[in-house]
């Protein structure tokens, strides 16, 4: 029988980043899927070998613009495992707060995109609108909407002041009813149920074979979460629960992600309770990294980020292996897409929330017609500082 190849990518409205899927189709049915990657590969593992241990945290933040604190947390865990360092308690809470804020914004981003891919743009607009205040908190606390530069080996770089806490609480309090409304609207919607239920099912056996992670695994009833299984940061110090579903379809993945947002809010609120009114170190000095090897992992919004580092006692890593969750999640398409129709495959592809790598940032702005420089790097940094100042002023926080 003649097979037709339907290409998705490398540049396609469905994908946020370049990647290529070849769908082998027999009529409407997909009979095989092939995945090609590497369009955005930047060799970060290699670059990491030429950076100082401390510089690497900034480098690996650029692996992903959406989960840009997950890789640094995993890396810091790895180096702290190597050097056998315990971080101060205050730093643990701050790590968890930043990590969970990131999870909320990432999950809302996915819900919005999923709605958009299904042609349900109201969900897209709601979700992205409610995500925006979370980014405002990020900018207020860390100075950046993304690439927060909060983590360092031995602790965190910036403190969360008492003055910031009431505003973070207020924004989260305001987010809760909106999130409940969005969750209700998505989970009760008959159109979404018709499009997502029973589509792209992954069984627990598939998850085991492919080593799939995060919400993808939890939606198939595989109860794994690095935050609980390997307690680090403040995850062992606060009350929360791991969300799982049994069905394994795209709908279950949406349920897991939406309900996880509420757990994240719970974690942040408890961490804020533990920060308020207390003083303490936010980092310890880690000057020398001894020879040896270390492993660190962290539950990013998409699943476990895994970092392996090896030191020979010098100031740079000898080897730094990075395994992002999508590397394990994307191959599951072989199990979930085959036998589905082309129309459903688009949302299945989006269902694992595939994220490749994103580092594109503007450094210089030119006028297209005259080729004259309008803004250079320092102007852009100045603009960014002004914007952060504006946000802090808007929330009534005085700068020191």
């Amino acid at each position: 029988m003649k097979k037709v190849i339907v290409p998705i990518g490398p540049y396609h409205p469905l994908l946020e980043e370049p990647e290529y899927f070849a769908l082998y189709c027999d009529g409407e049915l997909v009979v095989d899927v092939e995945w090609m990657a590497g369009y955005n590969h930047r060799g970060i593992e290699k670059i990491s070998e030429s950076k100082h241990w401390d510089q690497v945290t900034f480098l690996i933040e650029r692996i992903c613009g959406i989960c840009s604190t997950s890789h640094p947390i995993a890396y810091c865990n790895a180096v702290e495992d190597l050097a056998k360092v315990e971080i101060p308690e205050r730093a643990k809470y701050i790590r968890s707060i930043v990590g969970e804020l990131e999870r909320i914004h990432s999950h809302l981003l996915w819900v919005g995109l999923a709605g958009h891919f299904l042609g349900y743009n109201t969900v897209f607009m709601w979700a992205w609108k409610y995500r925006e205040p979370i980014l405002d908190i990020m900018e207020m606390v860390t100075g950046n909407r993304n690439h927060y530069a909060m983590m360092k080996v031995g602790g965190v770089r910036r403190d969360i002041e008492d003055a910031d806490i009431p505003i973070i609480r207020k924004i989260l309090e305001q987010l809760k009813p909106k999130l409940e409304m969005l969750t209700g609207a998505v989970l009760d919607d008959p159109v979404l149920a018709a499009r997502l239920k029973g589509v792209g099912v992954l069984t627990a056996q598939d998850i085991k074979e492919y080593g799939a992670l995060g919400p993808v695994a939890r939606a198939s009833g595989v109860d794994i979460d690095v935050r609980r299984d390997s307690p680090h940061a403040a995850y062992g110090l606060v009350e929360w629960k791991v969300i799982t579903c049994k069905e394994g379809d795209v709908f279950a993945k949406a349920v897991v992600r939406l309900l996880e947002c509420f757990e994240s809010i719970k974690i942040i609120e408890q961490c804020l309770d533990n920060l308020k009114g207390k003083k303490g170190e936010i980092s310890i000095d880690v000057r020398n990294i001894p020879p040896g090897e270390g492993i660190g992992h962290y539950e990013a919004p998409r699943g476990e980020c895994f970092h392996y580092v090896r030191s020979d006692g010098t100031s740079r890593p000898l080897r730094h292996k990075i395994r992002a969750p999508s590397f394990m999640n994307i191959p599951t398409f072989k199990a979930s897409c085959i036998g589905e129709t082309v129309a459903d495959v688009t949302i299945i592809l989006a269902g694992v929330d595939p994220c490749y790598c994103c580092t594109e940032r503007s450094a210089v702005a030119y006028d297209v017609s005259t080729r004259k420089k309008i803004l250079d790097g320092s102007d852009l940094i100045k603009l960014s500082h002004e914007k952060t100042g504006k946000i802090r002023k808007q929330f009534g926080i005085k700068d020191k």
Binding site: G211, E293, G294, H297, F306, L318, R323
Partner: protein, 146 residues
Amino acid sequence: MDILETLRERFSDKIKNVKIHTDKRIYIDIDKENLLEVASFVFNDMDARFVTASGVDNLDSMEILYHFSIDREDVIVSLRVLLDRENSVVESLGSIIKGALNIEREMYELLGIKFLNHQDLKRLLLAEDYPEGVYPLRKDDQKGKK
């Protein structure tokens, strides 16, 4: 430690060396001939999750660390295999773990390690026009230094 006991009992003659970094991180050195058997036992019988594999160029040898996570015990077991650098060949784990196929492709193109009986050993990330026989993650690679 139960995990280590179980492995020692089962593979007393096949485990060459054990390094216990902390009680959560165990590194076990094995010969490449025994890799499939030990990995299959850890993955299937001990119900570990395959995390990934790290290829390391030691200049005098090639090294692969197969990381397995036993989530319920919070332990990561890494199986270490040393290969001849000029002729680095090892059996593919793809027949027992589908999730290992892509990382093997990555090690093949970036470090030049060949995997026997891999069902689809071709490039994963590098461009089609990248020269053959140049392995960018090797320590002596000159192309990446420009």
